[in-house]
Amino acid sequence: MVRRTNDEWVTALHGGDGEERALADLRTYVLRAALFSLQRARHYVGHLGSTDLAQLAEDCAQESMTAILQRLDTFRGESHFTTWAYTFAVNTALMAARRERWASVPLDHILDGTETPSLAAGDHGAIDPEKQALQAEAVVAIREGIEQLTVKQQQLLRAVVFEQVPLDEVVRRWGSNRNALYKLLHDARRKLKRDLRARGFDVDEIFDLFAVRA
C-alpha cells in the first residue's frame, strides 16, 4: 500500500493522479476497520457465522466509502486521514453490530411504556441509623426527581441507563437521531441534578452517602 500525506490522499481521491490506487487503498483501510470492529464486537454479533460476518463487513466498508467520499471536503487535516477514515468505518460497523444484537429484542414495554422507572430503597449497606435515614431520603428524592421528567425522558432513561440499550437502537426504533436523543437525556440529567440540589442534596454528597466511587 502507498504511504500518503493527508494532502496526497485528498488530492488523489478528488480525481487527481493515482485516484484508482487511492480508492483501492482506502477500501482496504475501511474494510480492515469494519472487520476489526466486528471481530471485537462479539458481544453483539456472536450469533453470526463467519460468512455472514464477512458479508456484513463488506457492506459496512461499502457504506463507509460512500460516506467518506461524500464528506471529503469536510476533512480539515486535524488528524491523519486514515484515522479520520477509520472513524467512519468503525461507526458504521458498530452501528450494524448493535442492530444485529438488538433488532429482535422486544423493547416496547420500555420505549412505549408509561411506567415510571422504579427506584427501590433497598439495603445500601448503611449500618448507622442516621446514615440509613439519609440514604432513604436520597432515594426518595431521586425517585421523585425521575417522576418529574417527561414520559419520553423516563422511557429513554430506563432504556439507555437502566437496561443499557444502545442509544442507536432507540434512535432506530423512534426514527430519531443520536444528537436529538443525547440532548433529551442530557436535559433529563441536568434536571435531575438541579432537582437534587434544590432539595438540599449535592450529588457528590449522595456519592459519599452511598460510598459510590466517583
Binding site: R32, A33, F36, Q39, R40, Y86, V90, L94, V139
Partner: protein, 89 residues
C-alpha cells in the same frame, strides 16, 4: 432499580455539565483526539469536553476505543491484514 442502576444514574448525573458536546461534535473531533493521544500528547487540553461526552455516551465511547486501538496498531506498524482478520472471524 438495582444498586448498579442507582450508581450508574448517580454517576451520570454527577458528571453532567450545562454544556456538553453532541454526538456529531464528538464524532468530528474523535480522530484528532485519538491521534494526539496515540502520539503521547495532551488531547484533553486541545479537545475539551470530549472525555466528558464519552463518560455520558456508551456508543461514542465504544467507537472511540475501537478507533484508538486501530490507530495505535497503525502507529506501531502492526495493523492486522484484511486476510488475517477474515480468517479469525
Amino acid at each position: 432499580m438495582s444498586m448498579g442502576n442507582f450508581e450508574r444514574l448517580l454517576r451520570l448525573a454527577a458528571r453532567t455539565e450545562d454544556q456538553e458536546l453532541s454526538c456529531t461534535e464528538c464524532f468530528d473531533v474523535l480522530p484528532q483526539y485519538v491521534d494526539l493521544e496515540v502520539a503521547g500528547g495532551a488531547p484533553e487540553r486541545q479537545v475539551p469536553l470530549f472525555r466528558q461526552h464519552l463518560e455520558q455516551c456508551a456508543v461514542c465511547r465504544e467507537e472511540y476505543e475501537m478507533v484508538r486501538e486501530l490507530a495505535r496498531l497503525e502507529a506501531e506498524g502492526r495493523s492486522p491484514s484484511v486476510d488475517d482478520l477474515r480468517r479469525t472471524l
